[in-house]
Amino acid sequence: MSDDTIDLKLFVWRQEGPDAPGDFQDYSKYAKGVSTHASFLEMLDLVNERMSADGERPIVFDHDCREGICGCCGAVINGIPHGPQKQTTTCQLHMRQFENGAEIYVEPFRAGAFPIVKDLMVDRSSFDDIIQAGGFISVRTGSAPDANEIPIPKESADASMDAATCIGCGACVAACPNASASLFTAAKLAHLNMLPQGQAERYKRTRLMIQAHDDAGFGGCTNHRECEAACPKGISTDFIARANRDLLVATVTGKDGRLV
């Protein structure tokens, strides 16, 4: 491993609150000598340390696990949510992806349904509203059921698992030309709708979660598939077609809450 360091031309979006005006600030002077082994967030940590030392307010950004599984981190880096590397969260993006002297613009995920809290941090509680509308199964929670008590075809289990890899980061919304959360909603729907345990509430869940999606002010899907390209888990837009089909069945047949 080399100990390469790079100097960056770093521009970060600064905004005091949801309705305050914001702007890009040039932090290039704090972004010199960055290790190429640092993750993007570690680079921001370093910049923040240097800024604090200078008496400047550090950049606010969301993060938690820093291993690409919690869905907390996320920023639009040079016009791409989570930056240039495919299927990678911001915390797992490493500075070796950038050339020495690279210009980097960092701004928050932008959507009406994701108000900016401060700087790069956005409020994604509209995702919670979508989950609360139907992203669960109603069962008596007692002792753990026996393994393999309910037979599930391997293909269904795999597909459901693919959908369940969604970490709810919001990159799909950030990438969508319409700021739609269709991929998030569809992934959460498929996750439950493709398993036997999810059948009882399948159509009601579909209708309620899609309604919650619209109520939150997200745009509609126009099939650009930018969400799939930006998704750190590579979740397929085929799940959106599935959700559409279930919604069609739910509304046209009025199948709410019934299996057949």
Partner: protein
């Protein structure tokens, strides 16, 4: 209570209606394109084709009304969805968001759509009602072969049709693929062919339609002899209709079924 009417309460439900009306229009455009190809069979066949359609009121008006309802619904819902989508990101990206995979066709649906609407109005005024003639020719409601040839001999009329069909191709490519997605026609086994199917249909319809103005300008269609045959055939039809006005309509109606 949920019923089919609640479909338009969600963005996805609205998209389903857009897709279904779009597919109705798509079906018509394919049929229309196949009909247009009869031009290459010859002047008589083309004139007969037009004559037969015009003398079948249930088919003619059934199609016209279906298309009118479909196109009005399609435009109304797409425009309202487009407005909603445009306002879903009130604060724009300051460093432009970089598109990764979307297509030119997908990004320009709200442009190709309205351009098509304008073209549809022009096209109806041109070949149907009232019927427009260009380059000093006269419009003839029976000799549609002559209408096509004289119009496309005017370069800018031909150019409008070529350009409009390029728009149609773009709109159909994204539209066909998008519509399958919107109605949930998805299956792992067939997903990979959905896009190719859309490209194939779009190229076939748009390319086939473009061939007509291009063939006229290239001199492949519409030479003096063909025009004479067309004029003669139109006269024959007129004379025939004059003789058997009453039963003629019935005969052509039965033939069509």
């Amino acid at each position: 209570m949920t019923s089919a009417l609640t479909l338009t309460r969600t963005t996805i439900g609205q998209k389903v209606v857009v897709a279904v009306t779009g597919l109705i229009l798509f079906g018509f455009v394919i049929g229309h394109f196949l009909g247009n190809l009869i031009l290459f069979v010859g002047p008589e066949a083309f004139i007969d084709y037009g004559w037969t359609l015009k003398h079948n009121p249930p088919l003619l008006w059934g199609t016209r009304i279906t298309l009118l309802v479909a196109v009005v619904t399609h435009i109304g819902l797409t425009m309202s969805l487009a407005r909603r989508n445009a306002s879903a990101r009130p604060s724009r990206y300051k460093k432009a968001r970089e598109d990764q995979v979307t297509s030119y066709a997908a990004r320009t649906m709200v442009i190709s759509g309205p351009l098509l609407a304008g073209y549809i109005l022009f096209h109806i005024a041109h070949f149907t009602a009232p019927g427009l003639a260009f380059g000093g020719a006269e419009f003839d409601h029976v000799n549609i072969y002559a209408n096509v040839v004289s119009s496309f001999n005017v370069w800018w009329v031909a150019a409008i049709y070529v350009f409009a069909n390029a728009m149609l191709g773009l709109h159909l490519f994204h539209g066909a693929w998008s519509a399958l997605q919107s109605v949930g026609a998805q299956h792992p086994r067939y997903d990979s062919i959905r896009r190719n199917l859309a490209i194939g249909l779009a190229v076939m319809v748009a390319g086939g339609n473009m061939m007509i103005p291009l063939a006229v300008r290239g001199g492949l269609v519409g030479d003096a002899e063909q025009l004479r045959a067309a004029a003669e055939h139109a006269e024959e039809l007129r004379a025939e209709a004059g003789m058997l006005t009453g039963d003629h309509d019935d005969v052509s109606g039965e033939e069509l079924e």
